[in-house]
Structure formats: C-alpha cells, structure tokens
Symmetry: C2
Subunit: 552 residues, 2 copies
Amino acid sequence: MMVGCIRQQGTDEQYEKFGKRAENFEITGAYAQTELGHGTFLRGLETRADFDRKTDEFVLNTPTITSYKWWPGGLGHAANYCVVVANLYIDNDPKGVAMFMVQLRDEKTHMPLPGIDVGDIGKKMGFAGVNNGYLGLKNVRIPRTNMLMRHAQVLPDGTYVKSPASVLAYFTMVFVRCLIVRNNSTMLSMASTIATRYSAVRRQSPINPKEPEPQIIDHVTQQMKLFPEIATSIAYRLSSTKLWQLYDQTAEDIKCGEFGRLPEMHALACSLKALCSRDSANGVERLRLACGGHGYLASAQLANLYSAATAACTYEGENTVLLLQVGRFLMKSCRMLMAGKPLVPTISYLQDAIKVNGLEKWTGSWQNILQALQIATAHKIRITFENLTARLKAGQTEAEAANNTGIEYTQAAELHGTCFVAATFLEEVTGPNAKNRSPALNKVLENLLELFLVNTAMKYMHEILRVANISDMELRALQTRLEDVLKALRPDAVAICDGFDFHDRNLKSTLGSYDGNVYERIFEEAKKSPLNKKPVPDVIYTHLQPFMKAKM
Amino acid sequence: MMVGCIRQQGTDEQYEKFGKRAENFEITGAYAQTELGHGTFLRGLETRADFDRKTDEFVLNTPTITSYKWWPGGLGHAANYCVVVANLYIDNDPKGVAMFMVQLRDEKTHMPLPGIDVGDIGKKMGFAGVNNGYLGLKNVRIPRTNMLMRHAQVLPDGTYVKSPASVLAYFTMVFVRCLIVRNNSTMLSMASTIATRYSAVRRQSPINPKEPEPQIIDHVTQQMKLFPEIATSIAYRLSSTKLWQLYDQTAEDIKCGEFGRLPEMHALACSLKALCSRDSANGVERLRLACGGHGYLASAQLANLYSAATAACTYEGENTVLLLQVGRFLMKSCRMLMAGKPLVPTISYLQDAIKVNGLEKWTGSWQNILQALQIATAHKIRITFENLTARLKAGQTEAEAANNTGIEYTQAAELHGTCFVAATFLEEVTGPNAKNRSPALNKVLENLLELFLVNTAMKYMHEILRVANISDMELRALQTRLEDVLKALRPDAVAICDGFDFHDRNLKSTLGSYDGNVYERIFEEAKKSPLNKKPVPDVIYTHLQPFMKAKM
C-alpha cells in the first residue's frame, strides 16, 4: 500500500528514492491515515505538518490522544518507514491534507527514533497475524522533500502550489473498493463450498421416521440456507467483473484528461462495495450457522472467513457513509432528469421507470422481475427526492435535510445497487455470453439466476408491492418456484462448489475438504491442540485441585 | 448441569452419592450428550451401554469416530466424572436413551482411567475459557446402579422398567430455553449500552459543512442502528418475564400430574429461543458495526458478546429445528381449529384471525399493527396448511410433505413468535402495569413500543400487504412515524441504557464505560498488549530482518 501510494502521489524522484527501496525490501513500510478519533472524514484529521522555512523542514505532531494514528497494518512493529497523512500548515494557515514520508525506526537496530511513539493496538476480532499499530509524533522533523509532491507542492520559500487534479486521489479509493467486491465475493464462494460439502457428509434427523438419517443437504430448509449463498456469490462475482471493465474504461478516460465518467464509477463502486461486503459477511455467517455446532469450531475456518468478510463493512469507507454518498448521487440524477439532461448508463433505467405509474403487469419472468425492481427503485428514489425537497422548502439546510432523509437515501442506494447486480446476472446468462457456454452449463447458471431473482424479488417484495399488483396466488406461485429451483439445484450443488476450484490448502477447513473426511480432520485438529500436550495440564494441579480443597 | 441432571434423573440415593459430592466440590463433572457425528436427533446417538447380567454392570463403548462425545463444557480437562447419555441395550435389544454416571479420571492424580480417551476439542469462535471436550469409551465398566434411575430402571435380572413420564426430560429443555431468552436479551441490552454510549462520545462527519463534527448519535442513520436494538432488547426481556410466568404455572401443573399445558409451553419456548437468539446475535453485530472500526477491537467487547450470543443459535436445539417443531405445533393447532376444538391461549388469536378475509382497515394504531401481524400470521399458517395438505393428497408421507413445506413452516413459526413478543410489549405498556409507573417513564416506554411496532410492521410488510390494503401515502406516513420516534428517543437514549444498570466491570468495554473516556481506555488497553512488552519484539530480529536480507 505504501509503495502504491508513493508511486501515485510521489514524484518520480521520490519513487526512486523511497518506493524502490521498499520494493527491494531494504525498508518496510505502512500507510497511516486513520486516527484514534478520526476515520472517514479526512479533513478532520488532527495530525499536523507545519512548514519551517528556516530549516526547509516539516515538523510533524499528533497534539492530542485522538490524533494518534490508529489501525494501520504493519505499523505496530514491522514498519521502519511510513506514509503519514496530515493536515499541512504554512505559517499556521491550513492548506489541506497531504502525505509525508516519515522514518519511524532505525534501519539497523529497529528502535523507534526520537519523538516517535509506536506500538501494537492489541487484540482484534480477526487479523491475528497483522500488527495493526498506533503512532504518536512529537516534533518529528523531516526534509521538505519528504512530502509526496506529484500533485500539490510546497516550494522552499513556503509557496503552496495546489494540485491540478485532486480527483486522482479519489480514484485510488474506487480501485480499492472494486477490489473488495472481488475479494468478498470470493470469501462467500469459499464459505459456500465449505458448508455445502459438509452438508453432503453430515447426516441428521430422519425425514421419514423409519429411514436412516439423511444427508442434511436433503432437508429443504438446509437447501434454503446454502443455495442462495452460492447464487449470491456468483452474482457478485459477475458484477465485480463488470465493475472492473468500467474501471478500466474510466482509467483510460482519465489518461486522456476526461473525468466525466468518474461520478458514475464512484457511485457504482460505493454501492457495490457496501452491498457485497454486507451480503457476503451475512452470507458467510448464515453458512456457518448452517453447519450447526461444528461451524463454531475454529478449524471449520468459517469464523475466520466471517472476521475477514465483515471487516470490509467498515474499512475503506464505512458502508452507511458510502450508501449516503450513493444517495446523494441519486438525488443529483433526479435533478438532472427533471432538468431534461441525459443520465449516465448505470442509472438510465430511471428515465423510463420513474415515468410509469407502477409495473404494467406482473408476469414473473426474469425480465419482468428486473423491471419490477427497477420501478420499485425509481419509486423509492422519487419519494426520497420528494421528502428531501419538502424539508428544504420547510427551511432546512441541504445538509440537514439530507441527514433527516438519510434512512431513505440508504434504502434507495441499496435498491439501486441491487438492480445493477440483478441486471448483470441476467445479461450474463441470457445475453451473448451464453452462446460461448455449453447448454448444460448454461442450464445450471439459469437455475442459479432463477434462484437469485426469485429470492431477491421476495426480499424486496415490500417495495415491489408498492408499484405492482401481485395477487396472493401469484405470490404463492413465486414460493413454489423457489422450492422447485432448490430441488433442481440439489444434484448439482456440490459440483458447482467444486467448480469454484478452491484448493484444500486455501480453504483450510476441517468441514469443507474435497475428500469429505470431515470427522477425521476435526479429530486430527483437536489432537493437535496445545491443550492436549499433556494428559493433565498443569493448571489442574496448580489451580483446580487447590480450589476444590479450599471449597470443601 | 451435571448436578441438576442427577437431581432430576437420578434417584434420591444417587443424588446423595454423586450429586452432593459434586456440590461439595469433592468431584468435578460434565454432561456429555452431543457426539462428533450426532446432535439434535437423540435416538441417533451411537454411544452404547450394554448390560452385563453376570457382573451386574454396564459396558460403555463409543464404537466409531462419529460416536465420540464432542463439545461438553468442562469435559476436556476439568471433569473427573461425567454423565454420559447413551443408547441402552439389554441382550443386544435397544431400550432407548439413558444416562450413566461414569468416572473419567483418578480423583487424586487426575489421570484418565483405562478405556477413557479424553481431551480438549481445540479452538472455537468464542468461549476461550471453557475446556470443551471429547470423550471416547472402550469397554468401560460401571456398576448397574450408576444408571440414573429416577424414571426408567434396569433390574439386576435385566428387566427393563419403562419411565412413566418421559415428558419430564423434555421439560428440562424448556427450562434451558427460557433461560436463553433471558440471557440473550441481556446481551443485546449490553451491546446497546456500549454502542449508544460510544455514539454519544464519538464525533464524525459534519452534518452542516461549516459546523464541527457532531456526536455520531445525531446522524439519523446511526439512530436507526441503535434505537431499534434498545427496543428489541426490552421487548425480549418482557417476553422472557412472561415466559417464566408460564413456565412456573406449567411446573405447578406438572406437580399435580397435569401435562396439558406442556405442548403450548414447549412451542412458545422453542419459538422465543430461536427468535431471541437470532435477533440478539444479529442486533449485537449491527451494534458492533455501528461502532465503525473500533467495534472490531477485542477491547470493545462487542465481538465477544457476539460470539456468546450467536452460540445460542445452535446450542440447546438448533434454531431451524426448533422452528420446524413450532411449525408442526401450528399445523396441529390448525387441525384442532378445523375440528372445532378450542385452542390454547397463546395461539387463540388464530381463531378470529383465520376467519376474516384480511384486515378490515389499516389505521396504524398499535392495536391495529398487532392485529395486522396476527392476521398475516394466520394467513401464512393457512397457506402452509393448504400446501401441506396438497402434498399429502399427492401421496407424500406426512414427513416428506412436512420437509417439502419446511420453509413455510419456519416462516409461520417466526411470525407466530413475533406476534407473542409484540402482544406482550403492547400489554405491558398499555395494560394495567402502566398504572404502576410514572407517566414520564411510561412515555419513554411508549416511544420504545412505537419504534418496535413500526419497525416490526415494516420488517413484515411483505406479509402484511398480503392481507391488508395500505396505500402508498399510508406507507409513507409509517416512514415518517419511524423518523419521528427516532428523534423523540434521541435525548433519552443514553439514559435508557444507563437504566439497564450494567456495571463497567460487567461490560468490560473500552467503548462503553459509564464515564465515556473512550480514547483513554482504548489506549490503555493497547499499551497492555503483550506485543508491546519490548520496543522491538524478538521476531523482528529472528525473522523479519533475515527475511529482508535474503530478499535483497
């Protein structure tokens, strides 16, 4: 992360000087932005860098406990250098946020340098192997040339030269969010594989009282826990691929000095990062619970996957904050629509959907389900816009009105992202790409799409019913379709997961190995536990027996 | 647990002999039921106890790897005795499940006895301080009189005397499930306290661009994360109190030989255990996420609370299995209704609700919301029953039909439990108990009830809209009510949590202490981390620096 940052934010000379040394393993680094008291709101950072014209240096300080850098990975002990994000001051005049290359530890002894208070932040829910660190700075002086100056600059006389394209810093965030969608969809596929394989091995509770206990995957309620997650992981995987394509196009545009596509790209990355991190984390956890008690074993690896998946809900932009940003984008789109201006492609469905007075007819076809979702989304966007406008008319500031309409902002953003995921899945299975697949493979994908769309329609039925007349019989038919497609997927479920092609070494799960030797592996892991090194651990003699004697 | 078991399942002499010794700390015990390959389905246990008439002994064996006892708390190392649940055989003829008192370890040396393979099952998601254990038995002989014989008995000549009231074993399970509702609602209150207090300390993201960052509790989306969980924890707390009252009445009845109330009690305990464990776990996790990155710190204590809360989803009856049992109870109630028989009190709403053709009129009053929920539940029960019946008519066995209707069984059970929780909350706030409270206090409870009911109505709106005509304007009015009540609760939120009266010693949370010194406490905890004992941990010299040199 530090190297990437130096490459993007530093000059070529700075990259030669610092970046290459890190790439060559001569130094180790971290990227320190978040503070103990400050996260998402960058301008609120308290760490300050004051320019000292006399010595041509910056003086860095974390003046309060809340300004201590907190969380950066590798900062605790491994890093001897660090990119510090701080507010820049020249003659006590704030110039905005900038980045500074700071040496933390002696390269030979690894001891912290004067003015540097650095250490580990202690135990977390996950990431046991990462030394997330804290960093306090007290009058730490660095040469002026240690400020990363590809964009903004400070000249020796103290002149501040503004960045010509501040938009570029924010494009890095878009990149990381695209990455999260890919990673988290993969974690959900991994958890699906573990739970589905285990469900084909585990036997429990006879369906017919006189028959032996079936594989639990034959219980319909178990299928309902497993198969939707398989489908969801594929849906996000496909969306992530589409997202990368858009990212590459946007990156090309930027090289040509064309920034027009960026707000759309930003909104899409925000909504998919928020939805995929949330749905993958919740999905992993549902799958863990689907493995019953053994899902609670560390060796099942599901708790670890959950810790990793859920962390993405708060890092790189807290999910609610991101959804609120998407909400603002939707409100802007609404205004553009009303001004007769054209909309960007991923929100263009709004043009038609907002005009119609509800869904013309519910047929339940895939295309029809997507249309119902889009019209429900348009409806939500419209009422959000109306409520926002009413608050503005009542005298609230734009910001207050947005805060008070916040719940609906996030609902609209969630629906908007869901439309993209559903449309992408539908396009992949029924569009031109289908021709490159065998009919047998596409049939399986059709089943997964059917499950995803029926399930999504049911999940948002409270919104769909606001814009569509659907009879009770039609709702019952939807339930039947759900049950039918679960049954259809049953014979393929394990094979679909095998098709994800995770190696046992990567899954590292006693429940989810390819050979299905679940119980042997659980047993083997237990035998390895440090608590089983002696038949009687010392604590029995030192604590338990004396305690019992004292109580007797 | 072992002592309680001996008291309930053992004879008075057995209690004197074994139970008292455990109470006096002369021996330590565990209760071993679950096996590596067998959980909820008790008859499937593979551990067997064969009666040997010649020696007047039982011979206990775990003949396969899947029959190893797995999970019992304290079994790994602490226990030297254990109640083993096994299938009883006399002359190879199975007599059903029975319980046996088995010595595992020498009382002095604590070494495992011959034929006993015992140890710790290794790391889990939570409960780091509990030595959950495994146990293998190989021709372990115990005196006949070590079988717990309060109910069923084996005589010296091998005669098996059946239990007159097998129902009693199952009443213990009801007790434990009532306990879980109480405990888990408390965990949700604890997490609410931590997150609400933190939200009043943490500042983030200006609402108005030129003003300082507000307490995050002033963001409406944050209120939406916090306040519903406060209300839910109180709703389940009240339901748990009602549940205990019913439990006490049922226990009284049983003493008088009256078992009629038991199925109702069982169904209610099952549904509340399932709903409360699920909602409390999900709620704790939402609250953890509401604390942003710092919620991920172990010292926030929220991850620990989550590990404890979620464990209750699978232990003491896996939630889906329990909801399916409630579903069966609902189908039975349906049949009774159709046969013109009276229904037990907690399902009596079905009598009226199933007759009406939907909700007469949506007014949105509290009573009306409850009625809408009840009619939606009745509708779900009816269509579940119809689908079950159709499958039976199509030739499926009762069991197959139940499995194929399983998703709807669990949906109906969830709605049924929700009706009980909503009705209980409504009764508490508007019924006779309100008179014992100050108007000011009851006003706060009214706000919490309003939030709970509006939120619950929205959550189940897809079901309510099937039985009620609610216009879009009325749905928007509901959204306004939600936003209004969040605002009304804002000034009281911290005080409500203070009212839960958890001591800092019990919360053990850096984010949730009474004095609000969040950042100081986080810092203090980090400083205590073992990773900060030396300024440079040895691993830097032994691993990191050699690794870098090798790479250079």
